[in-house]
């Protein structure tokens, strides 16, 4: 059934038990992103320690895809240098915009590869990218402020 391809167990697990959820202090910058077609929203904070992403915290309302992908994001980027985090971001964006034609690299995206099935549903790609766009924006803001 197609539905299971999209809603992999990993996604449902992250949705039901999200990692890193909740807004925390201290933080360097915050980003609010909204998906205007469905009203889903996320507020995400980033704390950098030098060049390293030391914390990502977030809160929001959204579907399983947007919530789970933000949860996966925190696993992937916290503790990593900004450059490496952005490589993962690029890889995730490429996967999501690939219409199901991109083979994801598990070494880079870990649990993020579970979203490969979502990429086949254009209407849901924005959901999967919501938290990631907030992360990108928050990092840019924190670096701009530095």
């Amino acid at each position: 059934m197609q539905l299971q391809q999209m809603y992999q167990e990993i996604i449902l697990d992250h949705y039901k038990n999200p990692h890193g959820r909740g807004l925390r202090d201290p933080f360097d910058a915050e980003s609010f992103q909204v998906n205007p077609t469905c009203g889903d929203e996320v507020t995400l904070r980033v704390k950098l320690d030098g060049d390293v992403v030391s914390d990502v915290s977030y809160d929001g309302q959204g579907c399983s895809i947007s919530q789970a992908s933000t949860s996966v994001l925190t696993d992937l980027v916290v503790g990593k240098p900004v450059g490496e985090a952005f490589q993962k971001l690029d890889a995730f964006v490429e996967l999501m915009q690939g219409r199901g034609q991109v083979e994801p690299d598990e070494d880079v995206l870990e649990d993020g590869i579970a979203f490969a099935g979502v990429a086949k549903y254009p209407a849901r790609v924005k959901c999967a990218l919501l938290g990631w766009m907030a992360f990108k924006d928050a990092v840019a803001r924190s670096q701009g402020a530095a």
Partner: protein, 425 residues
Amino acid sequence: MTTTAAPLDVTALRADFPILSRTVRDGKRLVYLDSGATSQRPTQVLDAEKAFLQQHNAAVHRGAHQLAEEATDAYEGARQRIADFVGADFGELVFTKNATEGFNLVAYAMGNAATSGPEAERFVVGPGDEIVVTEMEHHANLVPWQQLAARTGATLKWFELTSDGRLDLSDVDSVITPRAKVVAFTHQSNVTGVINPVDVLVAAARKVGALTVLDACQSVPHGPVDFHRLGVDFASFSGHKMLGPSGIGVLYGRRELLEALPPFITGGSMIELVKMEGSTFAPPPQRFEAGSPMTSQAVGLGAAVDYLSIVGMERIHAHEHALTVAALEGLSAVKGVRLIGPADAVDRGGAVPFEIEGVHPHDAGQVLDSLGIAVRVGHHCAWPLHRCLNAQSSVRATFYLYNTLDEVDALVDGVREAQKFFGVA
């Protein structure tokens, strides 16, 4: 509304809509419950568009050749039939690209009134004036008024909603005051299907000399509507929600108002006399139809109102009412489902929005889609309404003449399936 007419023969009628017999998502029978967003077109409409393009296509209101003449007749003939359908006169209907453009036309024309001479004085809006809307509006009949207020310095006011999603009309005179210049409101909510008491709002607006602008997008397709009888000053609706083509909407304006209203979009076709120093404008409706207009779309919409008239608007309304009652009943019996808006079908059209506890609307829509059921998810261009009713977003099923009770059952079963899939049942 009671009707003695025979019920619809939906099986026969569905044969007119080829798309309804296709399958989706690996062979699932299509259950189309999203007509509130866009309706499907019957063969009769598609054939009329094709016949026009194959036999009569030409630019209208220009050219002296036979095709130009036939195309103009087809275009204006459609205007006449659509006018008859909504209780208006021929010259009171303006073709627009969609309903949204109709609302913008009125809002921008009012914004232009201050610099358009004494005739347009009655439309002038400025500081101290009030523009009244409701929390129920589709963004199309909200944002243009917010913008008009912002451009002119007028104040935006609005009717709030009761907890079950109806307009709070407990103190109409405090919202529609003598400062009101325009009162814009929906006939039928695109989210909850709530039908508003047009007479109450028109009476209050008239008392203070304010213009009324009706969003008729969800009412004209689904029941008998007579603009003259309703007494509204302006109304806007779209073709694609009433079995017609996309790319065409209709603005109704009372004749004397259209005659005094300054133009919005200017250019060719809408002029009377053009000199380098300036221009004068054609009478309505041409004044509001600048540039080459849509043609096959107008013809298609003419065919759509012919189709709807043959089926009968009262019968369509009664049919949708029965589906709505069944959907409300079926969904309210599912534990964990919260209906948004009124729990009953009184003064209500065929729209049923709801939430499923523990299943985000987007996810619910995905499960329904996997079963072949097409619904709308999100805020349906009515974000303030959702906020009022404490919903971040919703799942919305909407019905039309071609939907069946079986499809309502499929929806209810699909909701249970979504609960099972996400482990909340």
